[in-house]
């Protein structure tokens, strides 16, 4: 047959959704025809190619497998396409030994252009198949067999981003284990929550940019919006608060979601581990407030291994809508203190809330009564101890001296 000349193969554009059904019927008819005839196929469809490429051991000159699982391919999203819709160089049979590589962008132009400017732009290192899986078994992202199905995405990305060596090579953190242990990771892997944030919810899919790029959804300024795409109420609160307005005004020192919650190892905020890690974080900017907080009972009992019930920064200052005391909406505005303190201290009164959670006993100008109380207590402590230290040391020396003298006197007697 080869000698009888080339058989023109049908070339067509990508099949529409409607084509799929038509194709299935055609395929079914064709298959039954094949069975009836019992002869190798010569036709105009994938089956033509499969006549050779169905052989699972088929390899090209360089040893790469060029076999295709027809059944899998038929079920895949591209199953309705002709082989040469993608392998465009092949127009006839037999086809040349070397064929042009498949260009997904012929159809998927938007995705390809997005990928072009992204961190994954290097085509050789990041072919489409590195995320979408085997070329002939690509499924729509809503299909649980797809490598980019929401529940499969972390695993897909982890092929590279859960790989120590790769992380090291690119100077990236090995984020996969952090993510998997996070509240998002748990929701996704344990509960199969499709809406749980997976890698692409925050990083995007094709046009992934470095977090240093102002266009990136993970760029500091954009993070509230990114997280807010799910956590809308919290994003609103945050934007209304001091940190949100500072970030919006371009003050990059102000914290955004990830500064407190981290990017990947996000914990349930009511968890002791999270409550333990937040105070030093706030204190890394608000240093004077941290040191005065540490003087208080809230901190002392709170630092003993995560006593979750004592007040942390955000219990009083709010976590997201952080506002200065002068703002009437602020939890620490005078008018709101009874309610704020009352959240823990049942029976809090106007006098009770005169307590200063950041009083500095070392500052005479700010807290004169407290300063003098501390001074008095310190003098008392130092005075008593100094007096008795001298007294007791002298006593010890004198007693020992007498004791030795008595012993030697006794010794003399015995001798």
């Amino acid at each position: 047959m080869a000698g009888s000349g080339a058989i023109p193969l049908e070339t067509a554009g990508p099949a529409g959704a409607g084509m799929k059904t038509v194709f299935s019927i055609t395929l079914a008819l064709f298959a039954s025809a094949l069975m009836a005839l019992g002869t190798p196929a010569v036709g105009q469809t994938a089956a033509d190619c499969l006549a050779c490429h169905a052989d699972s051991g088929m390899q090209d000159a360089s040893g790469h497998s060029i076999s295709v699982d027809g059944q899998k391919f038929g079920a895949s999203i591209h199953g309705s396409l002709k082989c040469n819709d993608c392998h465009v160089g092949i127009k006839e049979y037999p086809h040349p030994e070397k064929v042009a590589p498949v260009e997904c962008k012929t159809c998927h132009a938007d995705e390809a252009s997005g990928l072009g400017g992204s961190v994954h732009a290097d085509k050789a290192e990041h072919p489409c198949t590195s995320c979408h899986g085997e070329a002939h078994a690509i499924f729509p992202k809503a299909d649980s067999r797809s490598a980019v199905y929401p529940l499969n995405i972390p695993r897909t990305c982890s092929v590279c981003h859960g790989n120590e060596a790769m992380a090291k090579k690119h100077g990236l953190p090995n984020v996969y284990p952090l993510y998997m242990d996070s509240i998002h990771g748990f929701a996704l892997s344990k509960e199969g929550l499709l809406v749980a944030a997976n890698c692409q919810s925050c990083h995007g899919s094709h046009h992934i940019l470095s977090h240093k790029d102002p266009q990136s959804p993970t760029y500091k300024v954009n993070i509230p919006k990114t997280c807010g795409s799910c956590h809308a109420k919290i994003a609103d609160d945050f934007e209304a608060g001091a940190h949100g307005t500072a970030i919006a005004a371009g003050n990059l020192k102000a914290p955004v979601c990830t500064d407190c919650h981290t990017a990947h190892a996000i914990l349930q905020p009511t968890e002791a581990a999270f409550r333990m890690q937040t105070t030093p974080l706030c204190g890394s900017c608000h240093k004077d407030k941290l040191s005065t907080y540490k003087d208080t009972f809230h901190s002392q009992v709170g630092s003993l291994g995560g006593y979750v019930q004592t007040a942390r920064c955000w219990d009083c200052h709010a976590a997201h809508e952080v506002l200065p005391a002068s703002d009437p909406r602020s939890l620490i505005n005078k008018a709101n203190l009874v309610k704020t303190c009352g959240a823990c201290h049942a029976g809090a009164t106007v006098r009770f809330v005169q307590y200063q959670p950041h009083a500095n006993a070392r500052n005479r100008k700010l807290n004169p009564p407290l300063y003098f109380v501390r001074l008095f207590m310190n003098l008392l402590l130092a005075g008593v101890l100094a007096f008795f230290a001298i007294h007791t040391i002298l006593w010890l020396i004198r007693s020992r001296y007498d004791q030795v003298k008595r012993k030697s006197a006794k010794g003399d007697k015995h001798a």
Binding site: S299, Y307, H345, G347, F352, Q354, V384
Partner: protein
């Protein structure tokens, strides 16, 4: 020289047999001291962990007693027991001194109230330390013992009040100004620290660890001391009691061996815990 050794042994036995014991503390007083030092150790261990909550050992203690939640519970539990002991003591003083009008409670040689003799004793003691005079003679309570007593008394009031003010802060805020709520923690912490440092260094040495008592003065555990000790340590009291012909009435039983051994174990444990806490406190204090 076996003969001589045997002789001296026999002598010792005889002298031991002859030795009489004088009662210094009643059973109730000894129990009071035991309650005081057990709750004090509990309060110190948990209180120090709170005061130096950032140190590693504080977290270890918190873990050891059953988690950070247990720390505060134990602290409060010890505080309540100690408060009860203090109130019982006050009641006893009131009954003995005010109702029964017992002499020597509020004034005199047997009272805890400091008097002129204590000042003279203190001065004389210092002179003796420096080799400038004879060793002063003490009555029932020496000046440093009175200081210990009043330090605890004052500490009970100050630490107790400030502690309860924190425990029931909203209630206390009805009478106290706002800044007082800040002050009570400072007072509680500093006074507690003073108490701990004082007891675990000064009291331990003055009462137990100095050469004349080393390693422990057992009288607070057994209630009795040998007549010899009584005579040499509290010469004035001995003279007074003997002069009044009341010494016979003060003679008690030789303490049972089990009591002595038990007291030793408990006492050494307390001293060991105290000294450990002292080291931890000092290390944390100077690192702060």
């Amino acid at each position: 020289m076996p003969d001589l050794e045997q002789l001296s042994d026999r002598n010792r036995e005889q002298s031991v047999a002859k030795e009489r014991y004088v009662v210094r503390f009643t059973r109730a007083q000894r129990i009071m001291h035991a309650v005081l030092f057990t709750t004090f150790l509990g309060l110190a261990a948990t209180g120090l962990s709170l005061r130096f909550s950032e140190s590693i050992w504080a977290r270890g203690v918190a873990k050891g007693v059953g988690g950070f939640g247990a720390i505060l519970f134990i602290h409060k539990l010890c505080a309540v027991v100690l408060t009860a002991a203090f109130l019982i003591h006050l009641k006893e003083i009131f009954v003995r001194g005010v109702i029964h009008r017992e002499k020597g409670i509020f004034w005199g040689a047997t009272s805890m109230v400091p008097n002129w003799k204590d000042v003279k004793n203190l001065y004389g003691h210092f002179r003796w330390f420096l080799g400038l005079g004879p060793k002063p003679q003490f009555d029932r309570y020496a000046y440093w013992e009175k200081f210990d007593y009043w330090a605890v008394f004052w500490g009970m009031v100050v630490i107790g009040f400030s502690g309860y003010a924190m425990w029931f802060a909203p209630f206390f805020a009805r009478f106290l100004p706002g800044w007082a709520l800040n002050a009570v923690l400072v007072i509680h912490g500093e006074e507690g620290l003073l108490a701990i440092l004082f007891i675990f260094s000064i009291h331990f040495v003055n009462t137990h660890l100095r050469p004349d008592s080393f390693p422990m003065d057992m009288v607070i555990f057994t209630g009795v001391e040998s007549e010899e000790e009584f005579k040499s340590r509290r010469t004035d009291e001995f003279k007074r009691v003997a002069g009044q012909g009341k010494l016979e009435g003060r003679i008690g039983e030789k303490p049972a061996a089990w009591l002595v051994n038990f007291s030793r174990v408990v006492g050494y444990a307390a001293i060991l815990i105290g000294l450990t806490l002292l080291v931890l406190t000092l290390s944390a204090y100077f690192r702060e």
